[in-house]
Assembly symmetry: C2
Homo-oligomer: 185 residues x 2
């Protein structure tokens, strides 16, 4: 793989169980698990996206503990994962940041457990990641991404299918499986 | 796949960062994420293994909330995942329980992020899971399984490789990736 690969985890706007637009709270384990999976699979940066000031403060406190605080001293592997975590207000800010860093447009890839209309298989996207274009894979918290975010994306990745119709993986599991499929598949 | 597939997450005995035998505390997110991944990929049961009475009590409280309590009412998908979670004192008790349920020997598969001597690739084990023999995939908490448990197993599964030498996935991520590889690979 040579495409610069980024992840974004959206906390606002997302949908709630009734399909309404909502904002979700930061989850400590989302930061840890997805940072570790990102570090494992060569992700350049993992953006935690929330416009809420108190949630951003919490994110920075957790990140500081694991990069500059005691956590990073006792667990250098965790430090090395957290060094790639970034905080952004909006998905637009994420894309601008990547485009500034890479000097070219970023290909935006939405994920959804429910989509009826995926436009990319993991196999095909994995092949495309052998190119040069920067890509960002976008995950929703709560009940998933809002249509407005999905519609901004260039592709919708195929849902992860198990043995039946149950499609309630945690976002931590889904991000890990997608990264493995895209990089090793 | 037709082999009855089981998971076991060992909290004692495991190794600590200095390679000594230790017991680890139950983590709420381990129950949720691995139960959801197990449910997604058709696992028969997911055993949380701990000999500590207070830890077993905690596990049962969490399980009760999501199967018979309010959690299961508001989130039936989570209930359906938690209905396959079981608690056992020891790895031996897990194997006995599976063998009683299935009426035949269970094939025991250890996982390790560090092993130099894997005896099964995910691809080969995935093929073997199309047979009839019940299998249990065994995961360690803390810094991983002790040699005494690994030595009881029939196979050691290949470590999950990313793009480099970093091998610090969460057990939640590792279990999810292994299940996807074994069932969909």
């Amino acid at each position: 793989m040579s495409s610069p690969l980024y992840l974004a985890l959206i906390h606002y706007p997302v949908v709630n169980k009734n399909g309404q637009i909502t904002g979700s709270a930061l989850t400590n384990m989302d930061l840890h698990d997805i940072a570790r999976a990102g570090r494992t699979f060569g992700v350049k940066a993992y953006y935690v996206v929330t416009p809420y000031k108190d949630q951003k403060t919490l994110a920075f406190q957790i990140m500081d503990h694991w990069t500059h605080g005691h956590g990073g001293t006792v667990n250098p592997a965790r430090k090395s994962a957290f060094e790639r975590v970034r905080v952004a207000d909006t998905f637009e800010a994420v894309c601008n940041d990547i485009e500034n860093e890479q000097g070219q447009a970023v290909v935006k890839v939405a994920t959804s457990a429910n989509t009826q209309d995926p436009t990319r298989s993991c196999r095909r996207l994995g092949q495309e990641l052998k190119g040069n274009a920067p890509h960002v894979i976008v995950f929703g918290t709560a009940w998933g991404l809002v249509p407005e975010v999905i519609n901004q994306c260039d592709h919708i990745l195929e849902p992860i299918q198990g043995t039946g119709s149950y499609n309630h993986l945690s976002v931590r599991s889904a991000a890990s499986i997608y990264l493995d499929r895209l990089i090793n598949g």
